[in-house]
Symmetry: C2
Subunit: 306 residues, 2 copies
Amino acid sequence: MAITVVGSVAYDSIETPAGRKDRCLGGAATYFALAASFFTDVRVIAVVGEDFGAEQEAVFHARKIDIDGIERAEGKSFFWEGSYLENLNEAKTHNTELNVFAAFNPKIPDAYRDSEFLFLANIDPVLQRRVREQMPGVKLVAGDTMNYWINDHRPALLEVLKGIDILLINDTEARVLASNTNLVKAARGVMNMGPRMLVIKHGEYGATLFHKPVEGRESKTFRAPALPLEEVVDPTGAGDSFAGGFFGYLASQPALTPGTFRRAMFYGSVMGSYACERFGTERLQQLTRKEIDERFQAFRELTHLD
Amino acid sequence: MAITVVGSVAYDSIETPAGRKDRCLGGAATYFALAASFFTDVRVIAVVGEDFGAEQEAVFHARKIDIDGIERAEGKSFFWEGSYLENLNEAKTHNTELNVFAAFNPKIPDAYRDSEFLFLANIDPVLQRRVREQMPGVKLVAGDTMNYWINDHRPALLEVLKGIDILLINDTEARVLASNTNLVKAARGVMNMGPRMLVIKHGEYGATLFHKPVEGRESKTFRAPALPLEEVVDPTGAGDSFAGGFFGYLASQPALTPGTFRRAMFYGSVMGSYACERFGTERLQQLTRKEIDERFQAFRELTHLD
């Protein structure tokens, strides 16, 4: 089943202990779409500027991603500059230029309206909600956010959370959103805001899936590891790639059983780990389904007793 | 098979967000011995002062732990005071009084000499080495250390590492010991100092077991989770309890296969998680083998795909 994703398609300048790369193709929707495209059809809603050309389009086309929903506007694309020199788990932002994103008003192509899965990548919760409301018939909605929206746009964020089934955020975001330092209590607090499932990402330590308790059924928490990596070239987009693997796998399955969600967590970790191996989207562009399944097996061996 | 452990038996005054407890029985050897005693025979080498009496002895006797190797000296027992008010993952030390530990010279009772497993808990590496040398016939030696010894007693530590099969330390200690921020590279660096296996403990995110590559065989890394806990009453001794569960299980098994080590990691996590549920050794004292096996199952469900 097809996924529609709304989010940023951008240029990133990134510095890590492994080196520096200027103006590589990035943005949450880009990483998400590339990762999810290994599992199912993906359709992107975003806005780009005049600096987005045939070379960038080709990246999406090579993975058969539908970019009819990427609007072209006058001006420059969203630009982010950041580094991970002291801490590979957390980016230090040096510069953010919204550019064409400042006036973004997401429009959903008619051909996208039969998408059964919707992913609201990390953008202004007002825009997330606008997209959510235009797609009332979707089967499953997942989304991401960040501390900026949690701290400074809380009312709008709380509004959109009511329409999200699965929220994917990191430890710090969960703690801040729920005002609780204990992760289990923070998870419950976040799920009380709307989402019936919550994926908390722990960076190099993996991710945990929490479920809202359903009456008459025990709610099982599930933890997927991350792969101990010898070289993290560039962690940019690892979280979005996790989301793409997780949600892409879910959308590819005939039924959403507890086992499907557990495997989706593993596929999320697989895609997140690959994303870190090269700068920008480079590794995801070169990836094969065979490599994905090999790493899935490696994760099983890393964590399973027998 | 029996384990001999050398380390501190002490009194701790602890403050956590859950409250405060003064002068409860503690020390690395105490936590280790209690945790390991659920799996095998344990013998303790330590020194205590005149403040160690029948009440404290009873804690060990209730778990059938051999304390003939606990020497009584004039003066007071080792005392530690610390808090976890801002960060449950890292203690803030307010006071350390070595007391009788300052002149400790470990003596090994003859009855301990047939122990096939030896655990060198976190004490001065000079003492660890002295015990190691007096027990040349042991089958497997594991040990712990901390940043103080890594930073300020490095030559003595490097010496003792040559005689240790399995080192158990946390992320920060591994990174500092190997001078490498990447955990996989740090693990390799530490194993090049002697230990053929290394357990790196990640606090609330679990622990990873690394093996030195053996020629002609792929070395598999294994990651055990920690249990997402709703209430961490007191993390003191969680690492020592992990070590006790891990090493105790190994000592109880007829053969040390890769599967034995993976299950040992789970039992380590189980004992570490129980230790946090009450102040001091309280939870370990009340624990049953049935509860241990139930939590082992919970860890399996937390991490296994099917």
